[in-house]
């Protein structure tokens, strides 16, 4: 789960990582109150208010390139904050609704560094990444000038040691006075990484301001979804993320809904991540495009299968549906009955269905009694061929 910037900044604050203070606005009414009372509206323990203008108003959406899209604006006074907020709140950037704004002090930026701790799947350890070329796309830097990025694997039983930072300071020719504050920030960032089960904790840029202080000016935190049971404080923020409504709806039924391509007109339902991927690969190889996919997981009942089909078919882009089931725990007859129950949602749309495994015969019997827009096939390759016949892309 990728946190919004303001939530990342709050966690930085909790872990004694100096960040620029800010206040969060989620409605124009709150904004009025705030500006009048000179009191913060943040729903957390950081107190902040606008003390000095100009300030920066930042749209809280999970996408890169916010700045270019007008999501970061400067305000000279309270009127301008209101004006900008009116424009931004509720509007969209790259299809994502802006539900919250973060208003922060304008920082006198002298230098911009990059700092992150990420989970390195190759070495199976946390990886500390640092560069004095911050504030820009780090992947670009990594590609163009890899020597400007230092990567230090962290032994999970050892953690951050000060010699690592001494090394960085020498490598990048950094003024030694930053050794101690940088060490503290890295240590704290790593503690946050570990304690919050993070896949990524990133500060970009880590700024040196006019007074020579280090400040985390923008942050990204990605928390392992599988760990959320032990992070109630994070879990409750999930709904505020600007996610696809269908993803949220599917999650309520314990399904995984994955939007694939905006141009796609095929929906895929299957019972397992591998099959979903294989199905999409084969469809795409034939020159067709998948709009979305839904993973039933194991052992779905007819009732739940019905809901899954409805979720996919209510997507207006979906003209064709491929159901590809290899049943172990999942029973083919339950799948077939689920499709039966979803008849209204299906309407006249073509459904290609392939069932294999547990209770296949019983399933096929039900399917064969359906109207002829439901086409039964015996393998995924046959299924893709059948799709191609009806493809209108």
């Amino acid at each position: 789960m990728k946190l919004l910037e303001y939530k990342s900044q709050e966690l930085f604050y909790d872990y004694n990582i100096p960040s620029n203070k800010g206040l969060v606005i989620d409605s124009l009414e709150d904004l009025e109150d705030t500006l009048q009372d000179d009191e913060p509206v943040r729903g957390n323990d950081i107190t902040a208010k606008i003390e000095n203008y100009p300030v920066v108003v930042k749209a809280q959406v999970q996408t890169g390139g916010r700045g270019k899209a007008g999501g970061i604006q400067f305000a000279e006074n309270a009127e301008e904050v209101k004006e900008i907020s009116r424009n931004l709140l509720g509007s969209e950037i790259k299809g994502l609704e802006i539900k919250k704004l973060l208003v922060v002090d304008m920082i006198d930026v002298k230098k911009e560094w990059y700092l992150s701790v990420t989970l390195d799947r190759k070495s199976k350890t946390p990886l500390l990444i640092f560069s004095t070329e911050g504030g820009v796309d780090i992947e670009e830097t990594a590609h163009q000038t890899p020597e400007k990025i230092a990567k230090i694997p962290i032994n999970p039983m050892m953690g951050i040691k000060d010699y690592m930072i001494r090394y960085l300071v020498n490598y990048f020719n950094i003024d030694p006075k930053y050794l101690k504050p940088l060490y503290e920030i890295v240590k704290n960032l790593y503690t946050l990484f570990k304690e919050y089960d993070c896949l990524l904790t990133e500060i970009n840029p880590l700024v040196i301001d006019g007074e020579g202080n280090l400040l985390a000016v923008d942050g990204k935190i990605d928390i392992d979804d599988n760990s959320l049971f032990r992070h109630d404080d994070i879990l409750k923020f999930r709904d505020e993320l600007t996610e696809d409504a269908k993803v949220i709806e599917a999650r309520e039924y314990d399904f995984l809904y994955i939007p694939i391509r905006d141009e796609g007109n095929i929906g895929v339902i299957s019972n397992g991540s591998g099959m979903i991927m294989s199905s999409i690969d084969l469809i795409t190889k034939k020159g067709m495009e998948v709009s979305c996919a839904l993973d039933l997981g194991g052992g779905a009942t007819a009732e739940r299968v019905k809901e899954a089909i409805k979720i996919v078919l209510e997507n207006e882009d979906v003209e064709l549906l491929l159901i590809n089931i290899f049943g172990g725990i999942t029973r083919c007859d339950e799948i077939a009955r689920g499709l039966e129950m979803a008849a209204d949602a299906v309407g006249d749309k073509k459904v290609i269905i392939r069932v294999e495994g547990t209770n296949k015969e019983a399933g096929l019997e039900i399917i064969h009694n359906m109207k002829d827009t439901v086409i039964s096939v015996d393998s995924i390759l046959e299924g893709v061929d059948a799709l191609y016949e009806h493809f209108s892309g």
Binding site: M157, R230, G272, G274, I380
Partner: protein, 289 residues
């Protein structure tokens, strides 16, 4: 004698009194697996399916000389369960659960290396040596004994492949669920030396997918050390970037790390046959065997 699991495996089922644990213990027993004991804290002294239950793995190991365990415990208890098993001296720990926190697995991974234990999974169907034994929840009816080993991050893609293999007369020596998580207890590369040595294995099927670098690491190893034929499939070529495809591990990083293209490229360079579909794997196998 097969790798990891065979007729000599004296298996413990951790979580045997749970719904899943009991169901699959029964399946395993039916298949002929030598399930010698179950473990559920607080349920010691009971019997399930005629199998004695203990409170701790150590007791089960002591009393029954067990040498492997399969964990049917919820994801949040998988770390503790795996530690308990390794601490009791078990060198083969098979974990099933989907949804184990990756930081937990980091600990399990590094501990297992230190102990010299092999951890399979999590988010895995387990291990089966067809006709001999199984430890996991795979639909064993589709498997048949033979000479092709299957390693797979995905259960369903493995089933598809094995189903067609068996239908077309190509049996399996051992099938191993590497698991779909970011940090598998045993990535492909750690299974390859066992298969290269295994006299019952003639060819290796490697079903990978997008995300991580484990296929690339395997490719390096294959290039230098594997003489047997390797047929590989990489699922997820057309998955969108930076989006998890269901398996926690099946995600291409924003910088492109973990893309199917690179995996296929290096595997091909390492001498592996690249299949375009599960059916394609079987076509290739038919050709080369």
């Amino acid at each position: 004698m097969s790798i990891l699991v065979d007729e000599n495996t004296r298996l413990i089922v951790q979580g045997i009194t749970g719904r899943e644990g009991k169901f699959h213990a029964e399946q395993m027993l039916e298949y002929g697996a030598n399930v010698v004991a179950g473990v559920t804290p607080g349920k010691g002294g009971q019997e399930v399916l005629g199998v004695p239950v203990y409170d701790t793995v150590a007791e089960a190991v002591e009393k029954h000389d067990a040498n492997a365990t399969v964990l049917f415990v919820p994801p949040r208890f998988t770390k503790e369960g795996a530690f308990e098993a390794m601490d009791a001296g078990l060198k083969l720990v098979i974990t099933i659960a989907e949804g184990v926190p990756v930081h937990d697995m980091l600990e399990v991974y590094h501990h297992s290396k230190k102990y010299g234990a092999t951890v399979i999974g999590p988010n895995s169907f387990g291990v089966i040596s067809p006709g001999k034994s199984k430890a996991g929840f795979m639909a064993h009816r589709i498997f048949s004994p033979g000479k092709v080993a299957v390693l797979s991050r995905s259960a369903t893609n493995c089933y598809e492949t094995v189903f067609m293999m068996s239908n077309r007369g190509i049996g399996q020596s051992t099938a191993i669920g590497i698991g779909g998580d970011m940090v598998p207890g045993s990535p492909f590369v750690e299974m390859l030396p066992l298969l290269e040595e295994d006299p019952e294995t003639e060819a290796i099927v490697l079903i990978g997918e997008i995300g991580g670098s484990d296929e690339e690491i395997a490719a390096e190893y294959i290039k230098e050390n594997v003489s047997k034929a390797v047929v590989a499939l990489i699922a997820g070529k057309n998955a969108p970037k930076d989006t998890s495809m269901g398996h926690a591990g099946a995600i291409v990083a924003p910088d492109g790390t973990g893309s199917a293209e690179n995996k296929e490229k290096v595997l091909k360079e390492a001498g592996a046959y690249i299949a375009e579909s599960t059916e394609g794997i079987v076509d290739i196998l038919e050709e080369i065997l």
